[in-house]
């Protein structure tokens, strides 16, 4: 396991009601080739739905029963997809982080390990930071060169309908993608309204939704470049291209949540079609 993400705590006092939870999940193939959840352990603010099989993949929803992250909450997630197993992880609704009252950030540290011939799709609903929120997300993906990945991140500008556009205090994003032992993608950034860090989001659309997608394995063997180019429109500004080792990245700025959702739905169909497969149903209203 590669280890590069920082483990520094937020260093601030937290309210007495903060939660320290975890999710540990292992998906492996049964002897007959059916992917099963062979190990699971979770604690609030996380709950798991019952899983099911669709299109040969184990589909599981991660539920946040506390409706979101509060200041000082900490969640540690470890997802392991064993050789040959296929897992789809989703959330039934948006992930929210609420206004910090103590000044402390909520911290979400997530690790994914995908072994040879395994597949993981990570497709959460949007991340919505409320006004005054502070949040840290650290993600590390250890991807076998022979594995398949489809990894979505969707950051909303806030509760737009409530007039909250980029009204959070701070979002800290850390992301490392290892292909085998090689670090092939690293992202570190702070989003802090009032500074220049949101300039790139606002330059195209005043309340832009940001999408980041990483894809590998079967999803990229017949990369649908022309079809992806055609997704750019008045509402969507999208680019895509290769990293090393057959991994691809897609970045998009979307005018609003509807265009972001429509784009994700279109991307899923395109990328699964490129893999000559159908996307598993996510068991939620959309997608």
């Amino acid at each position: 396991m590669n280890t590069c993400l920082s483990n520094a705590s937020t260093g601030r006092p937290v309210s007495g009601s903060s939660i320290s939870g975890h999710l540990t999940l292992r998906c492996e193939n049964r002897a007959d080739g059916v992917p099963i959840i062979s190990q699971q352990s979770f604690r609030a603010p996380i709950h798991l739905s019952k899983s099911y099989i669709d299109q040969g993949q184990r589909v599981l929803s991660i539920v946040n029963p506390t409706a979101g992250f509060f200041d000082g909450d900490q969640l540690e997630t470890k997802i392991h997809v064993g050789a040959g197993a296929r897992l789809v992880l989703s959330t039934p609704s948006a992930s929210r982080v609420y206004r910090t009252r103590s000044g402390a950030a909520a911290v979400n540290a997530q690790q994914f390990r995908i072994e040879e011939d395994a597949a993981l799709e990570w497709i959460p609903e949007p991340f919505i930071p409320h006004a005054g929120a502070r949040y840290v997300q650290r993600t590390q993906i250890d991807l076998h060169p022979g594995a398949t990945l489809l990894f979505f991140d969707w950051i909303a500008p806030g509760r737009v309908a409530m007039g909250e556009v980029f009204a959070y205090q701070n979002l800290r994003w850390e992301f490392d993608l290892f292909l085998g032992e090689a670090l092939i993608a690293r992202e570190r950034y702070d989003l802090t309204p009032g500074g220049a860090s949101l300039e790139a989001l606002r330059a195209k659309f005043p309340a832009a939704h940001y999408l980041s997608i990483y894809a590998s394995g079967k999803m990229t063997r017949h990369w649908p470049a022309e079809a992806l180019d055609a997704l750019t429109s008045e509402q969507v500004y999208l680019g895509h291209g290769p990293l090393s080792g057959g991994v691809y990245v897609i970045r998009a700025l979307c005018q609003d949540s509807l265009s972001a959702r429509k784009l994700i739905e279109g991307l899923r169909v395109l990328l699964y079609a490129a893999a000559e497969e159908k996307p598993p149903a996510l068991g939620r209203i959309f997608c």
Binding site: D190, A200, A203
Partner: protein, 221 residues
């Protein structure tokens, strides 16, 4: 090299020094094409709000690390940073642009100053990143000067590209560069002592990803 390091700095940073950077816009061409940067004011805003913060949070601290490794003759550290830069530069075109310029500068450096470290590093990493090669190139120059020279290359390169892409005259462009350099000068020493961190810029990333697939283009990147 025994030559005066400041005179060497002038030579290596001269626009006539054949680095090949004149052929790159680093995503600016697509940002013009997409209507984000169309005017002198938009160009200045782009440089101040997007390029300068990325320089100060990522490029300059990375340069400081590379310069320290070059001064110490630590070739493995230079190579490690060079490999890590690939991971930070998400769009392939930005990775390639950096390596094209770097390798061109490294080839020339090997002819002008075939020192042991230059020869060893070039053998290990001939297609190296611009940042790492410039740190190696300017290892005889104090870090504060060398980092300023590297940052100037970035700002001046975008300024030169902008004159081919938008309606802006030489004087207006130099005025913008001057103001951006004033801001840079106020913050660069602080930046040199900071750990390497990233900067959120999906706009340049998307622009660069799109530029790589453009049907027609003036610049390589």
């Amino acid at each position: 090299m025994s030559a005066d390091p400041i005179l060497w700095l002038f030579q290596a940073n001269d626009t006539a020094y054949p680095s090949g950077s004149y052929a790159h816009s680093f995503g600016l061409e697509e940002l013009v094409e997409s209507g984000v940067v169309l005017t002198a004011a938009a160009l200045e805003n782009f440089l101040v709000q997007q390029i300068l913060p990325a320089l100060l949070t990522f490029e300059i601290p990375s340069f400081a690390r590379a310069h320290a490794a070059a001064v110490a003759g630590d070739v493995p550290q230079l190579a490690a940073l060079d490999a890590e830069l690939d991971a930070w530069r998400i769009p392939a075109e930005l990775r390639d642009a950096s390596r094209r310029i770097g390798s061109q500068r490294l080839d020339l450096l090997a002819r002008l100053d075939p020192s042991a470290i230059v020869t060893e590093y070039r053998a290990l990493s001939p297609r190296s990143h611009h940042l790492v090669v410039t740190a190696l190139e300017l290892s005889s120059v104090p870090l504060s000067h060398a980092a300023r020279a590297f940052a100037f290359q970035i700002i001046a390169g975008l300024g030169a590209a902008s004159m081919k892409l938008i309606r802006i005259g030489q004087t207006a462009c130099q005025q913008i560069i001057r103001r951006v350099l004033v801001l840079l000068g106020e913050k660069i020493d602080h930046s040199l002592a900071q750990p390497i961190d990233g900067w959120f810029n999906p706009l340049i990333e998307i622009a660069s990803l799109r530029h790589a697939r453009a049907n027609s283009r003036l610049f390589i990147s």
